[in-house]
Symmetry: C2
Subunit: 483 residues, 2 copies
């Protein structure tokens, strides 16, 4: 607000210090703030409005697949977490514990949920009796807590917001199908709503969810070439069903274990938006998720011009209401100040309205992504604006896709691999034998890990040797450093 | 689900045991469940769908008053809570404390927010510099925790969902105005969307929010005559601003304290819906908040009728999509079983479609509230259905209003007052001198408290004596037992 520095000139160059650029944009655009509690964040109204758009659009996509929402408790008894051995091992270091409540020491400590497989597993065991109760397709929008040492706004905070879907099925095949279906929902959401091209595929054993049979993810390349895991979908097979005794009576009279899945996307995605689309002037928001799709800046020099300009501004605002998300900047700042401000905040289109425009019954539109100007007649706005927003949405996706392609390398030499990781940025696609120890060794040597084993593999299978072990390769894998 | 008992015949009579009736309806209609964590609840999909409708409609009303959403952290440092003396005294007995995180004992315990005035106060102090930054009008939708000894689903649980609005203003007058404005948003929401008549007014000193100058509330009468506080709006004046140093530089060059407000409505409101509208067959949901507004039950006896009936069912479903929230019950249960089931779950309208209807191009509509049947031609459905839903919405409000009027008593005698509270149910409206000790004494003697001092007072002021102290009355107050 008032006394904070907001000027674009203060933003560091992306190429000089990407993470400083990121932090400055988040703070100056008023997306988020650090909280007085270590590692936690405050999501400010402008950032939260992005989250609301994301929620609305993603939730609608879930519901199209028959998912319903519910709410499960924040606190999880210690004994629940201990029921699934891999799960507790994975999350134990990050847990926050409630030990006192209502003035008394608790007999059993309660963890703030880091994720809800355990308490939901316990509940499903009570709810599910027969095959007629299946599938159960439930999602919740909630907060979770994972105590983090190193934190970054949106990307890694102790508390964050997300959705977690939890489904239970009659067969392993059906669970696998649902796991893949939800990954596809995330893929299409990321590409169509967030304009972020992603690589969909499977996680390596080292990187999969604690307690899952198999984890799928979508991975995106950020503006500095690092990878961001943007959503995950886990096939939990019978693991949690066995730990929590989720059984059903099948049509054949046999009691059987359910196969379960879980899947999530979080406020991290907002960090992804910033790092994929932003430029030296700040944020660039894809129109589908932008809180404001168009900002109107009224311009006049002389007092007698003011009334006519404002009259047209009001008329245009009214005309667009309910059709396009419009902000009119009626503050007392100069037009130039407003241009900088709203470029920094990433509004996809600026509409300038001045005395000349009043005369011509025109407005001037300026795209945030490429600065191209286009005069449009007021009467043509209702048609042209949605088109332009659509063009911007597609252009952002295309630009990000080209950036990713330019920064995706292939090599058959581990020496070259190390050189690429150290000197260039981006993804390295290599032949790989899926060896966990080799992956660990590469991580220690280069800080790069397998981000994803893409669904998209060479036809007829992979020929040749693993880049590290020299063993026959079983797949192609994408390595990168990551957030 | 399958093995749970669902039949209406099992529901206890409201008059015999209202709270047992309430619990049975909540459980059988699958609105909510107790969680394995003491005092916490699971909101099941059908209950959560009511909450989603409530959120959507209430949020839209907030946004019409320029309120924006944000998100503040779950955890609050102990020292923050201690800054406002009355506030910490009020909430201390109900706090849950995080004492360990990331494998270490915390230096300072962190409370799970019981409400967020303190952490938001701290944040506003950093954000607000000048009068140009005011007003700040922020709301958040979130979970809160108040450790409760006695719990009841939706009405009193240790964790619950709500929204909490927090505003900061330049003047005390503006804060008072906003406090009243938000109470009016709640009043109109309760009456127009939830069909619950409420009495709007001021809380007594004994019942106001810990740390507020003044608390307003809306109070509703439940089916057993007890009161439910359905939403509150607090004028915090300079109290929190002084504790958290929320100051601004005014246009006159002076540094001044902001005046702040807070206001909230919670999942309690779902409990209110149930207890205001329900009857011996179970839930009755007001159409505006009902997850399904219409349930279609296909009926046939002979196999050759099935295809034609289903064809019409599909056609009607498609015709109404996006206009009315429709559920088609295609399960294999009998029509009679379905009638009971969806009456129990409170769907406002049932649509029966059988072979005779196919012949006549008709459907049969049956209202949940009064069981009145009405045949409607398929071609007339798009017009008649919304009308009928509107009539039901109004009828529910009217019935609840009449019930409240029938069960609101007045008296000038304290003996009679005691008798009414003990023997009849409902509200007692009396002359009152606003004496806190007298209120405490009445509470101990009768378990009734001042629910609200209505805005609606006799013209020209109250004449006569306080019912308890005999001192000159300053107002009329509503006493009742409450949830
Ligand atoms: Zn972590
Ligand atoms: Zn309480």
């Amino acid at each position: 607000m008032a006394n904070e520095e907001k000027f674009v000139e203060d933003i560091v160059d992306q190429d000089d210090d990407f993470s400083k650029w990121y932090n400055q944009v988040v703070r100056k655009a008023e997306l988020a703030d650090y909280a007085p509690v270590r590692g936690c964040m405050i999501i400010r109204p402008y950032g939260y409005a992005i989250w609301e758009n994301l929620q609305r659009l993603l939730d609608a996509r879930f519901k199209e697949t028959d998912v319903v929402n519910a709410y499960f408790p924040l606190l999880i008894p210690k004994s629940f977490l201990e029921k699934e051995a891999e799960h507790v091992e994975g999350f134990a270091p990050e847990l926050a514990w409630v030990t006192r409540g209502g003035g008394e020491e608790l007999e059993e400590p309660l963890a703030i949920r880091p994720t809800s497989e355990t308490i939901i597993g316990h509940t499903y065991a009570r709810w599910i009796q027969s095959y007629r109760d299946l599938p159960v397709l439930i999602n919740q929008w909630n907060n979770v807590m994972r105590w983090e040492k190193r934190t970054a706004l949106f990307l890694r905070t102790s508390e964050f917001l997300w959705q977690e879907g939890h489904t239970a099925h009659r067969t392993l095949e059906e669970a696998e199908e649902r796991t893949r279906q939800m990954l596809e929902v995330y893929r299409s959401f990321a590409e169509e709503e967030a304009a972020i091209p992603v690589i969909a595929g499977r996680k390596s054993e080292n990187e999969k969810f604690a307690g899952a049979l198999r984890t799928y993810s979508i991975e995106a390349m950020m503006g500095d070439g690092k990878a961001l895991q943007s959503a995950t979908s886990h096939n939990l097979a019978h693991n949690f069903a066995k730990s929590f005794d989720i059984q059903f009576l099948d049509a054949d009279g046999q009691r059987k274990y359910c196969a379960t899945t879980s899947w999530g996307m979080s406020t991290r995605m907002i960090g992804g938006l910033i790092m994929v689309h932003g430029d030296k002037s700040g944020l660039i928001l894809p129109p589908r998720l932008a809180p404001y799709q168009v900002v109107i800046v009224p311009i006049w020099r002389k007092d007698h011009e003011k009334a006519a300009v404002n009259e047209l501004v009001d008329r245009v605002e009214k005309m667009l209401k309910g059709k396009v998300r419009v902000k009119v900047d009626r503050s007392e700042n100069t037009p130039g100040w407003k241009y900088n401000e709203w470029e920094l905040r990433g509004v996809p289109l600026r509409m300038e309205i001045g005395p000349r425009d009043v005369q011509n019954n025109n407005v001037m539109l300026v795209r945030r992504d490429n600065r191209v100007k286009e005069p449009v007649s007021v009467d043509g706005l209702e048609i042209r604006l949605p088109q332009l927003l659509d063009e911007i949405q597609k252009a952002l996706f295309q630009r990000a896709l080209e950036f990713r392609e330019q920064n995706t390398h292939t090599t058959e030499s581990y020496d070259e691999f190390k050189q690429i990781i150290a000197e260039k940025r981006g993804f390295v696609r290599v032949k790989w034998a899926e060896d966990s120890k080799a992956e660990q060794a590469i991580k220690e040597e280069t800080r790069a890990t397998v981000r994803v084993i893409p669904f998209d593999q060479p036809e007829g299978g992979v020929q040749g040797k693993c880049i590290y072990t020299g063993k026959p390769a079983t797949c192609e894998a994408i390595f990168a450093r990551s957030y």
